[in-house]
Symmetry: D2
Subunit: 327 residues, 4 copies
C-alpha cells in the first residue's frame, strides 16, 4: 500500500520548551521551513499552524510557497494556543468576546483553507481545559465547544473541521481529551463535516490503544477524519520519532486504519527538540514505511485466525515472524 505523508511545518523548525525559551536549534524563516519539508523525499503535503506559519496577512506568500514547492495543503491548524488572549481558553474562555474570536478565526481559516486548496481545518484547542478541581463547569464548557463547532461546521460544508484530542498539555486536563469523549461531542453536533483527528501520541499518552481508538471513531459515525503520527513514552506528549517507542502498537494501528478503509494522509507531528527536525522527519517516514510494510505483509486471514483464539502466543509468533530481520 502506498501511504501519503504530510508534515506540520513546525516539525522541521525550531523547538523551544519552558526552560530553553531561546530554542534548541536554529531559527528558520517560513521559506526555509518549506524548503526543508520539501527536501524530504515522500513528503507531498503540509500542515500549517496559525500565527506560526499562516496569518490573514500572508496568504499570498503561502500560496506562492505551496505552489513553488509543489506541496498539497493538507490542513490548517488555527492558533488557539499561542496568543496570550487564549490563556484561559479559546472556545471556553470565561470572556464571551474571546470565545467569539475563536469562532471567527475558525471561519477565517476555513475560508483561507478552501482558497488554498485544502480540505481540513484542524481544531486543536489545547487551552480549552482546566488545571484544578472546582474551576470549571464541565457542562457549560462542553456546551460552548459544541455550539461553536456547530456554527463553524455550518459556516461552510465544503471544509472539514477535525478536532484533535489530547489528554493534557498545555492545560493539566483538556476537555477534548480522548477519542470517545470527543466523539460524544462531535455526534451531538451531528454535522457531516465535523470529525476527529487521531494523533498517535496523544492516544498513547491517554492510555488508549490507537488501533482501538480508530475503531471507535469509525464505528460510531465514521468520524476518523485525519491521522497524525509520532510517539512517546506514555506519560507525556514527547513527540518522538514515529514508531521508535511503540513499534508494535504502531504496526497494529497502521494495519487497522488501512483495513478500516482509511486512505488519507499520515501527517507527521514530531517535535524532536534536540535533533535536526528535517532528519528526524526523514527517519520517521522510514519507520512508518518499515512498520507499514510489516502491516501490509500480514494476511487478514492470518490475523483473524489469531483473533479467533484471542491467543497472545499466536500474536507474538505472527508479529515476530513478520517483523524481525533475525528470528
Amino acid at each position: 500500500m502506498k501511504r501519503k505523508y504530510s508534515v506540520e511545518l513546525s516539525n522541521v523548525g525550531q523547538y523551544v520548551d519552558r526552560y530553553m525559551a531561546c530554542g534548541y536549534n536554529d531559527d528558520y524563516s517560513i521559506e526555509q521551513l518549506f524548503d526543508r519539508a520539501k527536501s524530504v523525499k515522500k513528503i507531498t503535503g503540509c500542515e500549517l499552524c496559525g500565527t506560526w506559519h499562516i496569518t490573514e496577512k500572508n496568504v499570498e506568500q503561502i500560496r506562492d510557497l505551496i505552489g513553488s514547492h509543489d506541496l498539497q495543503l493538507v490542513s490548517i491548524i488555527p492558533d488557539y494556543f499561542a496568543q496570550r488572549k487564549w490563556g484561559h481558553g479559546a472556545f471556553t474562555s470565561p470572556d464571551p468576546a474571546i470565545r467569539q474570536e475563536a469562532i471567527r478565526d475558525t471561519k477565517v481559516f476555513m475560508d483561507i483553507c478552501a482558497d488554498l486548496g485544502g480540505e481540513i481545518v484542524t481544531v486543536w484547542n489545547g487551552q480549552d481545559g482546566y488545571d484544578y478541581p472546582f474551576t470549571t463547569n464541565y457542562m457549560e464548557s462542553r456546551t460552548w465547544i459544541r455550539d461553536a463547532m456547530k456554527e463553524c461546521a455550518n459556516y461552510r460544508k465544503d471544509i472539514k473541521l477535525s478536532i484533535e484530542y489530547k489528554p493534557r498539555e498545555p492545560k493539566m486536563r483538556s476537555f477534548m481529551s480522548d477519542a470517545s469523549s470527543t466523539l460524544l461531542l462531535v455526534n451531538d453536533v451531528n454535522e457531516e463535516n465535523l470529525g476527529v483527528t487521531l494523533d498517535f501520541g496523544h492516544s498513547i499518552m491517554g492510555i488508549e490503544n490507537p488501533a482501538e481508538a480508530a475503531h471507535i471513531l469509525k464505528m460510531y459515525g465514521n468520524k476518523l477524519f485525519h491521522c497524525h503520527v509520532n510517539d512517546n513514552y506514555g506519560r507525556w506528549d514527547d513527540d518522538c520519532i514515529a514508531g521508535t517507542i511503540h513499534p508494535i502498537e504502531t504496526t497494529e494501528y497502521l494495519y487497522w486504519v488501512k483495513r478500516l478503509g482509511y486512505d488519507s494522509w499520515f501527517s507527521f507531528d514530531q517535535y524532536p527538540y534536540r535533533e535536526d527536525g528535517r532528519d528526524a522527519l526523514e527517519e520517521g517516514i522510514e519507520w512508518i514505511e518499515t512498520l507499514g510494510a510489516v502491516a501490509d505483509s500480514l494476511d487478514d486471514d492470518e490475523v483473524d485466525e489469531v483473533i479467533k483464539t484471542q491467543n497472545g502466543v499466536g500474536f507474538a509468533k505472527l508479529i515476530r515472524e513478520h517483523m524481525f530481520k533475525v528470528y
Copy 2:
C-alpha cells in the same frame, strides 16, 4: 444532604490476590457477611455478586438474609469474571455458546433482582477485554456487547442495567474502559433502562476526573445510574478506603453529583486486603460523610464565582477554608 450508603458484600469479607491465594483474613460465611455489613451504622443497602454471594440456588436464603438484616438490595452484579469459562471473555468470548451464557445469566439475575426488590443489575464485564495487540477485532467485540445489552435491556424494562467501566484488570485492557467509550455503546443501544455505573476508583485509575465523568454521563443521555466509592493511587485499582488518597477530587465529585441531581446510592467497593473490611467500611463512610459535609458547605454561588474566573488560587482558598480544621 443525607446520603444513602450501600456495600458490595465482598468489602467486609476475605481478600485474596495472585500471591496470597489463601487470603489475608478470615473466611466468612454469607450470614456473617450480612451481619458484618449490617453492623456498620449508616449502611442501609447491599450489593451482591454472582457466584460469590448469590446463585440461582440460594435465592430464598438471600431473601431471608436481606429481610432479617433490614437491608435494601441495591444491585446484583452477575459473575462474568470468576468462573473459568469466562477466561477469554463473557459477552466477547470467541465461543458463541459462552456469549449466550453471559446473556442468559444476565436475564436470570434481572429476574432474581426484581424478585428480591432490587432495581439495578450491574454489568461489570471485567474479562471482556484483551491483553495484546492483534488479538481482537475491536468492532466485532463491541458489537457483541452492544447486541447483548440490547437483548437484555429489552428482556424486562423494570430493571436497570448499568455497565461499570474500568480501564483494565483482570484483562490488561477492557473494552468498557472509560465513561465516554461506554456511553457511546450505551447510546448506540438506546434503551432507557441501560446506563452506566461510575466507580470513583476506576475513573481515577483511567486518568479521568470523576466529577467531569459524571457530567459527561449526565450530559449525553442522562446515564449516570449508579455510583461506587473507593480510592487508589492512580495506577491500579487499589480499592483503598474512600477519600483517603484523593480527598479533594472526592469532594468535587460529591459536590457535582449532588448538583447534577444524583440522589441515589453511594455504594462502597473497597477491597482492603490487609485491614478488617468491616472497620474499613465504617471508616470509609466517615470519610465520605466528612468530605460530603465539606461539599455541602460550599455555596453554589461561591463555586460559580471561582469558575467564572477559572482561578486556581480561588479554588485553593475556597477549599482550604471549607476543608481544614486549622487554617
Copy 3:
C-alpha cells in the same frame, strides 16, 4: 552470543488473580511442571518458589525431579508472600517472631539451595511494603531488612542472596522498590554475597530504563547478580511474554548487560494468565533470541558513534537497519 535460559516453574503452571481464584488454566502437579519446563527447548535451568514448589519436606522429591529432568537449579525464591502470616510483612512485620521466621526460612532455603547445587537464593519480599501514608516508620523498616540481610548473608558465604526489587504489588508500595534504593541497602550491608536481581518488567513498571538500571547496579558495587525477563505496559506487573511490548528497550538491555559482562542466566518470569504457559515460555525464548540476535549484531563502535553525538536520529536509523526484516 549464547544465552542461558531458566524458568521459574510457575510460568508453566496455573494462574490465578483476585477474581479468578479458581484459576484460568489447568492445575499441574510438581512433576508436570518439571515436564512442561523441560519440554521447552533451550531451557536448561529452573527457579523454585517456596511453598508452591519446594518446602523443607519435599527436598528429596525435588532433587530427583531436577536430576531426572537434567535441569540446573538456578535459584530458590523462599515464600515471603503466600502465607497469611506474611500479610503485614515478612522481614518488616510488626511482629518480631514473624521477622525471625523470615530470617530462619531464608537460612533454611540457603542450605537447601546449596544442597541441591544451586547458587542463588532470591529474596523477593513483596509483602515488605505499605499501603497508606503514616503506617510505616521507613527507617525502622529498612533497618530490619538490612539487619536480616546481614545475618543471612553471613550465614553462609557460598550462597548468593539476591534481592528482587519491585515498585508495588502486592503492597501498594514496596520498600525494595527500585534498583537504586535496593542498592543503597545492599551496600549498607556490604557483604560480597548480597546483590540484586533485575526483573525487566519490575524495572519498566517503576519507570526505570532497565539498561540504565543494569549500569547502576554494575557501577556501584558490581551487584547485578541475576536477570529476570518478561514485559508489561508500564503501569503494572503484567508479566507478559518477554519482548513483546518493549522490544527496543529489551534489545538495549540485552545489549548492555552483555557489554557489562553479565554472562549468567536469563530467567523467565512470565505469568500469561490466559495463555498456555508452556507455549508462552517457548515463544518468549524466541523473542529474547531474536532481540538478542539484534543486540549481538550491533557493533560497539557503531553504538558508540551514536552515543558520541547523542543523536536520536542516529539511534533510530541504527536500530531500524538492524532490527527489521523490511526497511
Copy 4:
C-alpha cells in the same frame, strides 16, 4: 513549629511553555520580582536562577536588591538548562569544553553565593539526561557528573552543593532521576558539602512517596540538604500550588522531615502558568501552614501506635480527626 519560607523568584514572574512562548502573564523586571516576592508575608528568603535572575555581571545589583528587600539568599541555581549550548547536556555534554563550562559556572556561582551570604548552590542539571535508548553510555555520563561534583565540592567547602533530582523534563529521562540514584552518586563522591534537594513534586512525579524519600536521604549519609514544595498530578512536573493535589502526602512529608530533624527552608517552586504567581505563592504558604499545623498536631506516640499495627484504618481515622473541620 515555625517554618521558614523562601521562593525561587520565577514563581512570581512570567510563565511560558512550548506553545505560549509569549508568556501567559506580564513580564517583570528583576526589581519587580523582588518586590513581588517581598510583598508576600512570611517570605524571608529567596532563590535565584542563573541567567534568568543572576549573572556574573549583575552581582552588585542583586546584592542591593537582597539588602533592600531584607531577604536572605537561600540558594543560587546556576543555569545548566536555558542556554543553547546546554542542549545536549551540561556536565554530560559530548563536548568536553561544554562540560568544563558547567564546572566553571558552578564554581563561579559558589563564589557569588558565598559573597552574597548564601549557603547552597543547587545543581539542577535538567539537560543531563537522554531521550532515546542507545544514545547514552550511562556509566560514562554518571562518571562525568561524579567527577564534576567532586571537583566543585572540593573547590570550596563552605558552600553546600545540592543536587535537585527530577525524573524527566526537559530531557525525556534524567540521569539524576530519583532520591536513591542521586544518593548513590553523592555517596560515591563522598564530600561533606555535597547533598540532595528534595523537590516534593519531582518526587511525586517519580512515583516516590516524598516522606519515604526523605528517610532514604537521611538514612544513608544524612544528605537531605534542602526542600522544595509544590504539587502535581503524578505524571508531570505541573508545579501546582503546594498541597492542593496531595494534601495527605504533603502532611506526611511535613511531619516526617520535622521528626527527622530538618529545620531549614521550605522553598517554593511553583509555576502557576495561568494564575498570578504572587497570589499563588501566598496561597501556597497558607496550604503549607495549614497542613503543617495538621502535622504538628499529631502526637508522635499516636503516629507510632498506628505504625505499630500497620493499620490503614488507624491511619484514616487519625488523619480524618486531625485534618478536617467537619468530621
